[in-house]
């Protein structure tokens, strides 16, 4: 049985007395691609942040990359994280942003150039990140988050607000990256997109369903799409 990269149980987090994540359990091994699916404000981002070590769970236990999740010692060199906000330096060019990420991860200077080619960013190499369109910015952000080939990749709404072509390209890279043996967790509120994922957890008001496949959820609801299945579940 493969060694888990993430094995956490009963995670909960409250902000200002309001519980935003409650009793979430996740187990991930190399090659897993898990979608956290649900409406905005459902607790997906907080879950990702807890797995990244950016937010400390109030309760719960387990390990991320071998480190106790509540001890604040998760090895950040082995995590790739893409936040929902465009979080690279707007004054820096694309290549400079990638160089920065490469440098702090101890990668050779060629790593940034390789990423430009791999993700089709040559056309915007010298353009400042702050002047990029949303689609290009997301591509660059994705490139920065996987530059160091992390064994655990956490993506927070990576395709939100993107056109169909860029969305398809990003999903292609996400699937490809999971195929390299890393574990990937991706949050999305887009149920049509979530149907592409092999496994999902449905979030509602901070609580997550058991891990399942989109097909199983659709079948259990007797629906024709994940969106219909989720609506049926919400009305039940």
């Amino acid at each position: 049985m493969a060694e888990p990269l993430v094995e956490v149980r009963g995670l909960a987090k409250a902000f200002g007395g309001r519980e935003v994540v409650c009793d979430v359990t996740i187990r991930l091994v190399a090659g897993d691609l898990l979608g956290l699916v649900g409406a905005n404000g459902g607790g997906k981002t907080t879950t990702l942040r807890m797995l990244a070590g950016l937010v400390t769970p109030d309760t719960g236990s387990g390990t991320v990359l071998g480190a106790a999740i509540r001890a604040g010692r998760i090895d950040r060199r082995r995590i790739g994280y893409m936040s929902q906000r465009l979080a690279l330096y707007p004054e820096l060019t694309v290549i400079e942003n990638l160089h920065f990420h490469g440098q702090v991860h101890g990668l050779p200077r060629t790593a940034a150039g390789d990423a430009l080619t791999r993700f089709g960013l040559e056309a915007v190499t010298a353009q400042r990140f702050g002047t990029l369109s949303g689609g290009w910015a997301r591509r660059v952000q994705f490139a920065a988050s996987v530059l160091h080939a992390p064994p655990l990749l956490l993506l927070d709404e990576p395709t939100a607000g993107l056109d169909a072509v860029t969305r398809a390209a990003l999903w292609g890279w996400i699937m490809q990256f999971a195929g390299t043996g890393s574990a990937v967790v991706v949050s999305t509120h887009d149920l049509a997109e979530a149907e592409r994922l092999p496994q999902i957890m449905l979030y509602h008001d901070g609580r997550a369903s058991a891990r399942t496949t989109p097909a199983a959820m659709i079948g259990a609801a007797g629906a024709t799409s994940l969106e219909a299945a989720v609506l049926a579940r919400a009305q039940a």
Binding site: E91, Q103, V104
Partner: protein, 363 residues
């Protein structure tokens, strides 16, 4: 080595961001130079104060005017009937009014006479104090020349600033104030801007330690602050003949430390503030008392003991002592070092607060 590489990476990013925010860079370098020119030429505490004379007879008025004309620091702006000098002071047209007593005469047989009456506008204490001192000096000087007071002879020797130039007195402090304000603001904004721009979350997930982030982010600004201080010093020497009689190298050497102290403090303030606005308010809350209690705005020796104790905590206080000491008093490296030590202690404490306050999470 990898630690140095990470610090260098953070510093390179901060440097590039600074260079590409042209307005900020221009303001950092140009504004201090304009300030020193403006303040150096505009602030003249030794300038003459306006004085009005009122007397019942024209001959009395002329006699007093003759005595006062040419006295240092006094400019006669009006003469007139009894009461007119006080009225002018009340209207804001003069700082001092000299009201000569009315003399009993055929035209005014009920006049009582009395002492010379001086009316001073005390709404501005600093100006009034200078005005009063000058009129008193003029009064005693007049008596002395008439032989009404015995004078054993008085010789005043002015050390370090023989011409009593006010600009020489405050320019060393202005160097410190300029660097202090710029650095504390930059320190605060460098972190607050990351948080509000969303890049802080991305930085937190990277394998860069808190101390590395602090060092990397502040190093470019230390260079800017040091250049800024040297530039202001050079302009002071060039435009206002401000001397540097002591160990100029020692003074230049404490500039990076002085800049670092305020950068780190600004960073610590921002680490505890939730927004850029809160960080800036925190910065202002620090530098206003620093200016008041450091000896820059008011002589340090005139502050009460408790205020001096607080004042001694500010790096600005020690910088002003070092700068004045080196520039005017010809002090050397040992004296500068004595002022650098409290600055270093302040920096270490502020750095510890900054690092501990800088969250490694978004909790």
């Amino acid at each position: 080595m990898s630690r140095l590489r990470r610090i260098a990476a953070v510093a390179a990013v901060e440097w590039a961001r600074l260079l590409r925010t042209r307005i900020a860079l221009t303001l950092l370098l140009i504004v201090p130079l304009l300030q020193i020119v403006l303040f150096g030429t505009a602030i003249r505490p030794n300038a003459a104060v306006a004085l009005a004379i009122a007397a019942s007879t024209a001959s009395d008025t002329a006699a007093v005017a003759q005595k006062l004309r040419g006295q240092p620091g006094i400019a006669i702006v009006a003469t007139g009937e009894p009461g007119s000098a006080e009225a002018l002071v009340r209207r804001g047209g003069a700082v001092i009014g000299v009201e000569l007593p009315e003399v009993r005469s055929f035209a005014n047989p009920l006049a009582e006479g009395g002492p010379l009456r001086i009316v001073v506008d005390e709404s501005n204490v600093a100006l009034a104090s200078a005005a009063t001192a000058r009129i008193e000096a003029a009064y005693w000087r007049t008596l002395a020349t008439r032989g009404e007071v015995s004078s054993p002879g008085l010789r005043i020797e002015r050390l370090y600033n023989p011409a009593a130039r006010a600009d020489w007195s405050f320019l060393p402090g202005l160097i410190g104030v300029t660097v202090m304000i710029a650095m504390i603001m930059l320190g605060a904004l460098s972190l607050a801007r990351e948080r509000e721009g969303g890049t802080w979350e991305a930085l937190l997930i990277l394998p860069v330690a808190r101390g590395e982030v602090l060092l990397g982010k502040l190093l470019p600004y230390v260079a800017i602050g040091s250049v800024q201080g040297l530039a202001v010093m050079a302009v002071g020497a060039w435009l206002f003949d401000l001397p540097v009689r002591g160990d100029a190298l020692a003074l230049a050497a404490i500039l990076p430390l002085f800049a670092t102290a305020h950068l780190v403090l600004g960073y610590a303030i921002a680490a505890r503030a939730s927004t850029q606005l809160a960080a800036l308010q925190g910065a202002v809350a620090f530098y206003l008392p620093a200016m008041l209690l450091s000896g820059f705005l008011y002589p340090f020796a005139t502050l009460p003991g408790w205020a001096q104790a607080i004042g001694n905590l500010f790096p600005l206080t020690h910088f002003i002592r070092a700068a004045t000491g080196v520039m005017l008093r010809g002090e050397g490296g040992t004296d500068v070092l004595a002022q650098a030590l409290p600055m270093a202690a302040f920096t270490v404490i502020a750095a510890a607060i900054a690092i501990l306050s800088q969250a490694r999470s978004l909790d």
